[in-house]
Symmetry: C2
Subunit: 613 residues, 2 copies
């Protein structure tokens, strides 16, 4: 391709709101342009990169035995009502009506459509297992689209769905996809890792892993144990619960406590007033003989925050029981956690098996606690009908401070085991750097940042049961199909690669997805010798199926080099004054290594390099 004909306008400046390096560089180097918030056009260079990625993903999917399909973007609302996600998906789901006022959605994902397809196409166990995939534009009306291709409202996705007769076969498909994902991200030249993750609104009770590209620009926090290799999204990362549980109750209640996290708690209506179901421990029955000081209600005027309390009372925040009121489907619930910890709302949501959790408004707090915001406490609450979740972190507290449920009052000397009846105990906190590893107990957690580029889920029968997708087994019985689903954000992957492959001057593409392999730059297009050498190289290389961009623009050398750095083609051949002597400069974009070579050497060097496939 001759650059004078290529629509690839480079920009000296990037828009002020482009913070992520990938966003900035893809704009400046002429790969993408914004049409509206989170909606981008791919210019020719961007289209080539996207297409190479698509092709690589397609190859790996085909190699794994998955079959490509193409599902519609416009989906009947009925299917989403059937699966129960029509309301639940919220405002990210773009809804529309056709001219006959029939309701449709623009597909943000395709579980419903593919389950609908499979329930009519698959009848017998002999047709299973099967894995179907597509590479297709998806639509999600993100509340805050940002960072260019990293979080868009219209984006390219590879989504795959597996169908199997039972859990074991589902797990085999899961493994096949998991491995294929490793191959794909390796071919992209990425430093990545698969981390345990939360299934989110897509659901399913089985395993789920996110594939994270490690970079400080990532918006996900990953908790990693440097000792055993445990890695999980912060949303999901488990606390080493046992380290919080007092020895006094550990032996007896250990298993119960640990299993509380996975307690079945399908709806708010199921709460028993008093019982001894899984996850409910009557801690009041345990008393600690070392502590006889009774709770005392004290006047704490204006002390509403942890910071105010710690300062006024000269205590550390780990002596405070923080009580936070949330709303679940407009019903209030309380979460108790130690003052120095953060609530992990996803853990709360998963425990309650609900999809939405919002902070309660001031009126609700007043109504529920009898006090304005800042004075909620567990002491009176725990005996009411209000669902109250206690994080492991408070279990060991014996001389704690807690809200008084009365304006300007707190309790001192709260002994959790002695004073509180806790029905729902579990892991509701964000792990912190330095925590013990929940797996090996030997290592400690540290944090890394990452970009989620892939996600694999074991869905089980979540969709097949709701939508009645069954097969007939060998004995003639109907059984729900066991599903998995597997996504790669293709356009996001472009950005993630740039995040890991760039420098101050521009992009440094891995050869596997670079738009061109060689950038030929005659220093002066008015120099006949240089241009004839350049054209000869161009012909020889393109004849050998090498992808070459020839900068034949009548621009200053400095402009050309700056553009070349921005665009990021792996190898640059500079044809300057040495052309008369048959010499060109060979430059490796990622390392900056330069060498003077004869044109023959340069050609040999390029054509024998592993980058030409």
């Amino acid at each position: 391709m001759k650059q004078s004909q290529l629509l690839a306008v480079t920009l000296r400046e990037s828009p002020g709101d482009a913070e992520a390096a990938s966003h900035r560089l893809l704009l400046r180097a002429g790969y993408i342009r914004q049409l509206a918030a989170g909606i981008y056009t791919y210019l020719p260079l961007g289209r080539i990169v996207l297409r190479k990625l698509e092709q690589m993903i397609r190859e790996e999917m085909d190699r794994s035995g998955a079959q490509e399909v193409l599902l519609p973007a416009i989906q009947p609302a009925e299917l989403w009502q059937e699966s129960g996600r029509y309301e639940m998906y919220g405002r990210e789901l773009i809804r529309l009506q056709d001219r006959h006022k029939r309701d449709f959605v623009l597909g943000p994902t395709h579980e419903e459509v593919i389950t609908d397809l499979v329930r009519s196409e698959i009848g017998s166990y002999r047709q299973l297992p099967v894995i179907l995939y597509q590479i297709q534009t998806k639509f999600r009306d993100e509340r805050r689209p940002r960072s260019g291709l990293l979080r868009g409202r219209e984006f390219l996705m590879k989504d795959a769905y597996s169908f199997a007769i039972d859990e074991a076969t589902m797990q085999q498909s899961y493994k096949i996809m998991y491995d294929a994902y490793h191959h794909i991200f390796e071919r992209c030249g990425l430093d990545f890792r698969a981390v345990e993750a939360d299934a989110g609104s897509i659901g399913g009770q089985g395993n789920t892993h996110e594939f994270m590209v490690m970079t400080d620009a990532g918006e996900d926090t990953i908790a990693v144990c440097s000792y055993c290799g445990y890695a999980a999204n912060l949303e999901k990362a488990e606390s080493a619960a046992s380290s919080f549980i007092p020895v006094s109750i550990r032996n007896e209640a250990d298993e119960k406590v640990l299993s509380a996290e996975a307690a079945a708690f399908p709806t708010m209506m199921d709460i028993p007033a008093t019982d001894s179901a899984t996850g409910v421990i009557g801690i009041t029955e345990e008393t600690d003989s070392t502590d006889h000081v009774q709770p005392e209600k004290v006047h704490t005027p204006g002390l509403r925050t942890i910071a105010q309390l710690t300062e006024a009372l000269s205590i550390t925040p780990d002596r405070i029981i923080k009580t936070v009121i949330f709303l679940v489907d407009s019903q209030p619930i309380a979460v108790l956690i130690r003052g120095d910890e953060e609530i992990n709302e996803i853990k709360v949501r998963n425990y309650l098996q609900v999809d939405e959790l919002v902070m309660a408004d001031a009126d609700t707090v007043q109504r529920v606690t009898g006090a304005p915001v800042g004075f909620a406490g567990p002491y009176a609450l725990a005996s009411t009908e209000l669902v109250c979740l206690a994080d492991y972190s408070i279990l060991a507290l014996k001389d704690a401070i807690a809200g008084g449920n009365e304006e300007d009052y707190h309790y001192l000397h709260v002994n959790v085991q002695r004073d509180l009846v806790l029905r729902h105990i579990g892991d509701f906190r964000n792990v912190r750097a330095g925590d013990s590893c929940p797996r090996c107990q030997d290592g400690h957690i540290h944090f890394q940042r990452g970009i989620e580029v892939g996600h694999v889920f074991q869905l089980g029968d979540k969709y097949s049961a709701a939508m009645n997708a069954t097969y007939t087994d060998s004995s003639g019985q109907d059984q729900p199909i066991q599903m998995g689903c597997y996504g790669i954000g293709v356009s996001r992957l472009v950005a993630a690669i740039v995040e890991q492959h760039h420098d101050e001057q521009g992009i440094c593409w891995p050869a596997s997805i670079a738009p061109y392999q060689v950038h030929l730059i005659p220093v002066s297009v008015r120099d006949e010798q240089q241009m004839s050498t350049a054209l000869e190289l161009y012909k020889k290389l393109t004849d050998a199926h090498c992808e070459v961009l020839l900068d034949d623009r009548n621009e200053r050398a400095g402009v050309k080099f700056k553009d070349s750095d921005l665009i990021g083609i792996p190898i640059r051949l500079v044809i300057g004054k040495g052309a008369a002597a048959g010499e060109v400069e060979y430059v490796e974009r990622s390392t900056g290594i330069r060498e003077l070579l004869t044109t023959e050497q340069a050609i040999r060097c390029i054509l024998t390099a592993a980058i030409i496939e």
Copy 2:
């Protein structure tokens, strides 16, 4: 691919509403499934065919020098308001709002988005010409989606746009695309022709051609001259006007009359009360001495239709002046045409340069003509302010019957030249089979049916002027960019190919886009000799990069052959009892030719055939 693993369920019956052969066969053979009206899923076989077509189109586009981009499906409404098409496009345009209540549309086409892109990326004449294309899903809320992939609401399209400094360069780009389209449709193995067409709502005053796949199943009618090769969509096909114009006025008024068709008539407001502008002929000034009978108003109770009149008065319909009242932006207009002719509404719209034309309701007819529907006539009308368009076909009438503009009355003995003042004369009729060719005058028109699979337009500055897309010329002046646009309905093309390549038993794919080249069918998978021969052939052929489908299903031979006929792979190798003797049956799907070959011969035959690319 082993067929036992392929998700390709064939159907013995097709849905009752599937009339077109392509619709029926693509469903039955397991290529597509309907999700909603006009919205289809591509199953694995369908996806392969679609992908092969995409790839072929991409190759030809790239070869022509066009550059691939990818534009968003979601487009800001503002751009459509800027071009003036937001309202005009009507209910086919799918509108939606994002969570911030901002208006968007789902792209049915991309003139606005690409013009917006180019006006910001292109500044100088040095950047031109450029041709950009994309292969992308389009959305049109068709009033009556039908015939499977032939007219869908969500469909795959290749759209290209050219940008040039002037009309001559625009025409060069047009020619390049026109030629590329020929190559594409030739590679698809199609019998097609490029026909002159109407630009429709996409607009532009220049040339436009439709690429029509000739088949009786087509919904377009094409007028063809068998003598000179003239071919045009019925919507556009010109009348050989001069054959209708009386000799008495031809010499003097010929040029004026013929140019009337292209008369500028931008708005209804421009009508001069009396003048001699182009296209306005004061026919009253001509008198014919042979005819002295004056018009006579006669009682014609209940004779409202041409059929009733001809029967009651014992005349042929070519003696009647039909007067039809339409509404344009709620203003009435009248069109006069001979009773045996049909009005071509597109010609009327183009003459008036308006986008919508609807039949007037009964109230309007009563108000405008003073009579109920069935009695409208030109006699009194022509002297009013009402715009009245006269088709060439009435010009020669001398003893005609016309409505009386009074209930139950008609005029007899109307002499058009003597009695009517016609300000707007033109070609407003559908051509008819047997008409003289408007080009060569020697040949005659006949009709063929076709499917429009491609359309090329010279847009000129229609969008660039409206959206201020300019470039700076070599003298520093801003000039509007001259545009062209070029579409191929990729998914429709799949169906069009099937329409031309099928028989009673199923599809007969041309090798260039067949999902597989060879269908290997062991008659009995339980016969070890047959299976080992089949697997050996499978290995040898796939190793040689031949695309092979192996029917390893444990089904009766009859079922397999029926499915194979349906699916339509070009070559079938049947491995039956002859396998023991090293023989297989080689069957060509399209011709039915069968031959017994040794396995070596079969392999050689397949690998040396032109079909393996």
